[in-house]
Amino acid sequence: MESQKLLPQRTQQNVTNESSEDEWSEGSSCTSYYSDSDESTIPDWEPYVDDYSGELLYIECHPFVTQNKDNQKPKETVAPFSKNQLRQSTRGKFLRLIRRRESKRHSKKFPKTPDANDNNTSKVKFQDFQEGEEKDVLLEIDQENKYNLSSNVSLAESLLGLNVSTLSDGNRVMIAGFSLDSKSKNERNIKIGDWLKSINDIEVNVQNLEDILQKFINNTDVLLKLQRVAGIDVTKDPPINELNNESNFVRELLNSKGEDEQLLSQTLCKHPVGIVYINTDKLSENSGEYEDIIYCYPRPLQKNILCGSRGMFLTLNHLLDDLVRSKPKCSSMMYKKRLAHVVYTQCDKNLLLFMLPDNRASAKEIMYINNEIIRLLEFSYETLDKCFTDELKLTQVDHFFSRFFARILSSGLWATAQQFVELQSLSVKSLQVSPHQFENVMPIAPFLNLPDEAKMQIDDALTELEASDYRDWNEEPLDCQRLFTVLGSVIYHSGYLLASHLIHEDLVDVHCFCRQQGLLHLSRTEPVKSLVLWKEVFPNSCNKNKVENENVPDGRRYLLVVGSAKNLLAVIMEAGGCTEPPEENMGPDAFYVEEAQATLAHIQELGLPELADRLLSLNPGFQVASPVPLSNKRKNEFIGSISLSKSATGLKESPRKNEVTSILKRRSSDQNFVLPYNSSTSLHDDCYSEDSGSQECCSEISDESGARSRRSKCEYDEDLSDNDDFNDGSQMSNSSFDVSEIRQSLLNETEDYRPIQITAGQENVLYHFLQLDTAEGILICPPESRVQSQTLQLVLSNFRRCCQKIHSLLQNTLRFKNMPVPEMSKSLMNKSLIAIKEHGILFECPYLEEKENKKNKIVYWVIGRLIYMPHPKEVYVCYNESVPQNLVELAFKMNIGVIT
């Protein structure tokens, strides 16, 4: 991972070099910790465990802008620690840990320090002040390089010899470095970190940079206007929020900054947002003014809109129940000329009200969001009552809601992978209309369908983790009871579910939790070095308030999430029942955390993240297409078969796009070598070149032999696991052959795996599809398209709006089918709506990519269908109307996923 972030031969800045060397030694110390068996008994995250609750959230990030003169780090430092090493190391450790536990597991060696990142201080920080000297630089265009416009070199690099990135606002162009042989390197006035304002007096930003450069391709020189953005190196004890090794988002996840939150809370009071939990019993004339309010956010109470108007909602809640025997679900209202919605949730005697403005969440969306939040709170705190009454939990709840509301107002529910979650400019952004949401607010986890071989490997690894069978690790039998049983585990990559061994209700719980806590977003946007989360949770299947299952053992359940790069592994563990009795506020156990980390590392080593990335990067092209008007399509046709040319254009465009944002992290001087590791870009560079027939490292290995060797190993592996020989059943057996070989063959084997085209006809006319399997908690959908076109966004937003509509229509059918027969005649349902199974709408929208040509239109269907057997599923598709489709067939093909 780290190697991609290196910059080639940076010798200009001494401080940086030193600093980054520090960085490296630190990084390697991190790895050495794992491989070292004895010195490092205290894991990195240990100091962060909350003393009181035992909870933990630890995120170690890759630094933002680091520079290093070692241009090639061996891959080993990057790859997660090898499992063999770990197993050996943990073997002795387990015993020791257990001993330690017996003495006193919670004795903390270090007091909890909020800014324990001190050792990370020496970093370069590019603070972008608007002020700063401006410089004009006349730069010669590199005549030799200017036709070297290969797909993986940006125009800025080939023409100017400059690597560019963005400043923190994501829009302005920053000089990130120089290419190897560039003349600009000798230009004293260009400094890394400078803001590139204009080229030949044309203002540039990330979006137009390539286009502008294209214009000057034949010039001999260009005039650059640069502005210093103060490249201050921060060396001495910087305040924590200036450390650049944490992005805003991570910092926000980790810290609950009291002052900021109060400020935010006050700002939020001005917006029609809020949540109030009211005790309806305490409502009487002679009680104090706010006595009935159990919880309220944002505060102060006097300024909270919901607090002030709660009487209205309480009356309605009571009145409608009396009047028509049904509880209100949602009220819409105007607040200072802004439409807002309030959802009601009755919880025994208490009433929860939740409010959002319409432009950020429609009436339908807010109900889904409300359900998700309640689910999250119940998963985290067992019941709403406990959540809002326990003083100690309130700071956490406050922190969650502050982030939640700020996010809703500023960047929508969840930004796409390309956007940032930003809490700035709340007042402006909160007035904009957010795109419609559908699948992101439903209680389902998006699933990435991997090839069977890969699924098997993952299942294998997870099963082994869940079994936690450590008998053969030690010659002397362990006479202690285990601390936890694993109830199930689930693995995500880039926010997509790869495999789940959880009961579906629990899966949805875990998914809601990871989504709302931002962990999924984090893994999608910022690959982290390491993430550990530990928390007591109340999964649906074990929540006695919900499940009337007497068999649920008295015990506590904990959620352990470990993450590395884009991968997340979440495990629900149970203490109690057959394990040692649970303790109060149990903290994470180093052994189990390591086990989970090792499993994740094993999966990473097998190359599954690469495989997943490769599948994720195939869009648009294979599963879904970008909307292109018919007339434009004709033009492309002679390039080749439509699917090929489409995938090619998709792939060609995206590296360029990515380069602008992340060049600094990725570019390495010797490009040919960098082996793709967890980088979607480099990965699909591979597939691109393979597509076009050129040879690349991976494809050089003969497919046949690779496949054969892998297969034989696989058989061997199966034999072992089938054997059920206890002496041999553990993961140790895997060490008899090299994991990297499995990885290689797995990757090679699956090279030709392509998702099948779901629509009929030669062209791919599908823009999006969803299969909602609420019974399983799984959503099948195409990975987010990396090419974001305005038209596509328009189409998708409308698609989601329709999905909401269709979904609620189809709910009528489900409701009626599940209704007991005697109630049917009494039901107030509209009888025309009780048996609808399919609803479709045909839309026309302009093709926004060509502003001049308004004639071009995209005509597309949005269709939703309820498939009742074997269990209810909903299928939604959005496709160009040019090729008629059979929806049942589409639904069938969605499930197939990948074929060879």
Binding site: I305, G308, S309, G311, M312, T315, L316, L319, L320, D322, L323, V324, S326, K327, P328, K329, C330, S331, S332, M333, M334, Y335, K336, K337, R338, L339, D358, N359, A363, Q432, V433, P435, L794, V795, S797, N798, R801, C802, K805, L809, L828, M829, N830, K831, S832, L833, I834, A835, I836, K837, E838, H839, G840, I841, L842, F843, E844, C845, P846, P884
Partner: protein
């Protein structure tokens, strides 16, 4: 299966009227007071409740000109349709007493008395909610839209009607057959759809056999100045309506009507036969069509029909249900995807706040929609201002619906004789 609508004075909170439909009970004063209170309570804190939904019910509040509030509760229908109904109810109130009277509210008891006249109108308006019960006899009513009847004789009647209109020195007149507009003058069509609808209901309310001469205010065109609304029965089930100034007395109008229409009695006699088919028997529809709804969005008129060809083979009970299905399909699918602009939930004063949203939604223009149920299929297609919703049997293939609907729509709007 129930609906309540009530009108409350904003200033005093006193109920002005309360009407119900279905098996609902009359709401007690305290309930009305609470519902009004909920709305009133938010005012000082800049909060105005618009609607509330429960599992089966929708509740909507709307205040008009800061003087009256109309509150509706209905089961089974969407909150958008209910809000639209409240507008119609207010229009009905304006139609009878005029805007000034409502605004001033000098004597609330007198206002209540005067409004008795519009109870039948409001009751009839409530029939246009799709509560989903098949006992409803006016299931062809659509909120805010005027129903027409397509007789082959319409173009002949139109000529006579034009000459009559000149005689009485008016511009607004129309012929109703079974309460549906058969033909009308251009000015009549230029009235707001709600006005056309209300006048049609007014002509048919209470006793349609006697001549009516009632002062009316046009809620959109002339809410403060009253016109005379004159409705005469020509033959049974055929009425002549016109709006005129004080000039010709009823006697003269009756005289002119007799003069103009005496030779057209035969035409009317055949035209009446068109009901309940509502479109010419000469027009042959595809046999798979169980019923259709043809709508013009710019003029706000529609014709709805169950195709009688099917009646002979299928049991008649299912055919009365057809109109309900078509109407629900129209409310649930067509209004939100094909005729968006008219059925937005916000008041027009709040439009600017949701401007961006409108832009995004407006760029995506719905042209067709369908749904498939176990028992039937519905398909709607929009060509320019015309929307045709067709009800099919469940055996019709989905792709075939598109072809049949398009063919039918083109055929229906190309017929010049029916004056669509």
């Amino acid at each position: 299966m129930s609906a309540n609508v009530m009108c409350v004075s904003s200033a005093s909170g006193l109920p002005i009227f309360s009407r119900k439909k279905g098996n609902a009970e009359n709401l007690p004063f305290s309930t009305i007071g609470s519902l009004n209170g909920v709305h009133m309570f938010g005012k000082p804190i800049n909060l105005e409740v618009l609607n509330t939904v429960t599992e089966d019910y929708s509740v909507a509040w709307k205040e008009y000109h800061d003087c009256v509030k109309i509150i509706g509760i209905a089961s089974g229908c969407s909150v958008e349709i209910l809000t639209k109904l409240l507008d119609s109810v207010f229009s009905a109130v304006v139609l009878i007493v005029g805007l000034e009277e409502i605004k001033s509210q000098r004597n609330i008891e007198r206002l209540k008395r005067e409004l008795r006249v519009c109870y039948p109108i409001i009751d009839r308006l409530l029939d246009s909610l799709d509560c989903g019960d098949s006992t409803n006899k006016n299931s062809s009513d659509l909120v805010g839209l005027a129903e027409v009847i397509l007789c082959t004789e319409n173009h002949l009647i139109q000529i006579v009607l034009d000459s009559f209109t000149e005689c009485v020195d008016s511009m607004f007149s129309s012929i109703l057959i079974h309460g549906k507009v058969a033909t009308a003058t251009e000015s009549w069509w230029n009235l707001h759809p709600d006005e056309i609808k209300l006048l049609s209901i007014l002509a048919n309310s209470e006793n349609s056999n006697i001549s009516k001469d009632i002062p009316v205010f046009l809620p959109y065109k002339s809410p403060t100045v009253a016109f005379r609304f004159v409705a005469l029965k020509l033959i049974s089930d055929v009425q002549l309506c016109c709006l005129c100034g004080p000039a010709p007395v009823l006697k003269d109008i009756e005289h002119s009507a007799t003069q103009c229409f005496k030779s057209s009695a035969d035409i009317f006699a055949t035209a009446v036969q068109c009901h309940p088919r509502n479109f010419p028997s000469s027009t042959q529809l595809d046999s798979s069509i169980l019923g259709f709804l043809l709508l013009n969005t710019s003029q706000g008129k529609y014709v709805i029909s169950k195709n009688p060809q099917q009646n002979s083979t299928k049991k008649p009970a299912s055919s009365s249900h057809r109109l309900d299905i078509l109407r629900t399909f129209f409310y649930q699918a067509v209004t939100c995807f094909l005729v968006t602009e008219d059925f937005k939930i916000e008041n027009s004063n709040y439009k600017e706040t949701s401007k961006d949203q409108l832009d995004v939604d407006d760029l995506n223009i719905g042209t067709e929609t369908y749904w498939c149920s176990e028992y039937h299929k519905c398909h709607a297609m929009k060509i320019n201002d015309n929307i045709l919703c067709v009800l099919y049997g469940s055996s019709v293939p989905t792709h075939a619906m598109r072809l049949i609907t398009e063919k039918t729509l083109k055929m229906l709007i190309s017929d010049k004789q029916v004056c669509w």
